[in-house]
């Protein structure tokens, strides 16, 4: 291989094109960032919704490109499947990508942060209700259990992902979503004040509100009448659990994490007027690199 460097750079750049997954990866520990400290990091996250993947498999068989290049599209079984897959993909995409975050200890037991995950902007606030709040370097208990609760709010606007290519211009889908995530986090410290990291686990609940519009172009129903655009709203709750291990030393940590959510996505209107309901499990594995900036001990 003559130009492996370029290939590698391209590969890494390709991974930056994240889809529209809600930022539901939880890589915090139960101990909040001590006051005066800042942590910054990047994560490589994959979103694996099982149901979406199955529908995506069907869509590959039914050539999207052929359909999109037709002069007029008639709503039939083929388009219905594509329509379902498009909605499922938009609501919970099958994707991977990077997110970047910055968190700071703003007061004793309080932490605030911002995360950029693809096109999603996220703000989070975390309160620690259990465990000590000392900095790394402070002599304390080495087997400490920490507990905290966080609230995360994110919003984003997007269209159908690139997988659907030209079909986006024919179906004219547009989505806006707001997500609330409420994780309850416990962590078991490795070393004093999580000097070597921690093992964190917990449960989380989230609520997502999606507003979607369609603007079909030359799409006709079975009576040969044009299909008009619609605007709908849908909200759904999801519940899940997560586990992550933060390992490293003082200033640099590696955080492999895995979250699992189960949700009933609700009912969505298709182009032909039918309703489509789906539910399923979403697995979100991620790997984060985290840097800690700040003083060592009080």
């Amino acid at each position: 291989m003559l130009v492996p460097y370029k290939i590698l750079v391209v590969c890494l750049a390709v991974l930056l094109f994240t889809a529209c997954a809600a930022p539901r990866v939880i890589n915090q520990s139960g101990k909040v960032t001590p006051k005066g400290n800042v942590v910054a990091g990047a994560s490589y996250t994959a979103n694996v919704p099982v149901r979406t993947a199955i529908l995506m498999g069907k869509i590959v068989e039914q050539n999207i490109s052929d359909l999109a290049n037709k002069d007029s599209i008639t709503v039939d079984g083929n388009l219905e499947t594509i329509n379902k897959a498009a909605v499922a993909y938009a609501v919970d995409p099958f994707s991977s990508g990077y997110d970047f975050y910055l968190r700071a200890g703003i007061a004793k037991r309080f932490e605030a942060g911002y995360k950029l995950a693809g096109k999603a902007n996220t703000f989070m606030l975390q309160y620690q209700f259990m465990g000590t709040t000392g900095n790394i370097g402070t002599v304390g208990k080495s087997t400490q259990l920490y507990g905290s609760v966080a609230l995360q709010y994110s919003w984003q606007g997007y269209k159908l992902p690139n997988v659907f290519g030209e079909l986006q211009s024919r179906l004219g889908y547009s989505f806006k979503r707001n997500d609330f995530l409420l994780p309850l986090i416990f962590s078991y410290s490795f070393g004093e004040e999580e000097e070597y990291g921690c093992l964190a686990f917990g449960v989380a609940a989230s609520y997502s509100r999606i507003t979607y519009t369609t603007l079909p172009d030359r799409v006709f129903n079975d009576k040969n009448e044009p299909v008009f655009g619609v605007k709908n709203k849908q909200g759904f709750a999801s519940f899940g659990a997560f586990i992550n291990a933060k390992v490293g030393y003082k200033y640099v940590y590696l955080i492999p994490a895995c979250s699992m959510f189960y949700q009933n996505y609700g009912t969505y209107k298709l182009l032909n007027g039918d309703n489509f309901n789906f539910k399923g499990l979403t697995i979100i594995p991620s790997l984060s690199l985290q840097f800690r900036l700040g003083k060592d001990y009080e």
Binding site: L15, Y44, V48, V139, Y249, L254, L287
Partner: protein, 203 residues
Amino acid sequence: MLRCLVILILVFFTSCSGGLYTHYPKVRQQAKEKNLPEKQFDKITLKHETLPTKRISIPSATVQSPIKIEIEQSQLPLIPQKQINAPTQKTAITGDGRPRDATHYNKNAKVAFVAAIGALTFFVAGLLIHPAFLIAMFLCTLLAFVKGIKAIRKIMKTGEHGRYKAEFALYVAIPLLFLSIVGIIAYLSANGTGLQIGNVFIP
């Protein structure tokens, strides 16, 4: 062979020691100065003086039974003398209150340091020569990470040398470990192989 040599040497010295006194140069010199024949001088010098005998009173030893603690102490396993006379741990408290030592160098710290340097080398090779070097980089970073953590934990407890090498190894290895994993996934994806998790394919 060695036994024969030793026996020969012993025989040689025994035979020499027999005639050593008479042939000792200083003795001969003294005999010459006093105009005495050498053999006669030998006899004079060899003559033993008889001293008057004297009675010495030997104090009678009293035998005491050992107390319980002494018996218990005598039954303890022997500690090598080196550890008693030359302690390996110094507990000088400096800076952040961690004990430091000036005697031992932690081996894991050295291994971690070398592995971190290796990982850096493979990282450059992965960028310039072939992405397959990322696998070697991944293995090196894993080694540096595991050994570094092990080293730093022990150093913090015992105060051995090698703290800075272990810290350097960790600070280098952890970001490179992240990059190697992400790089391998990216490389597999670019080659169309992707990452298969069960019946799900991550492109």
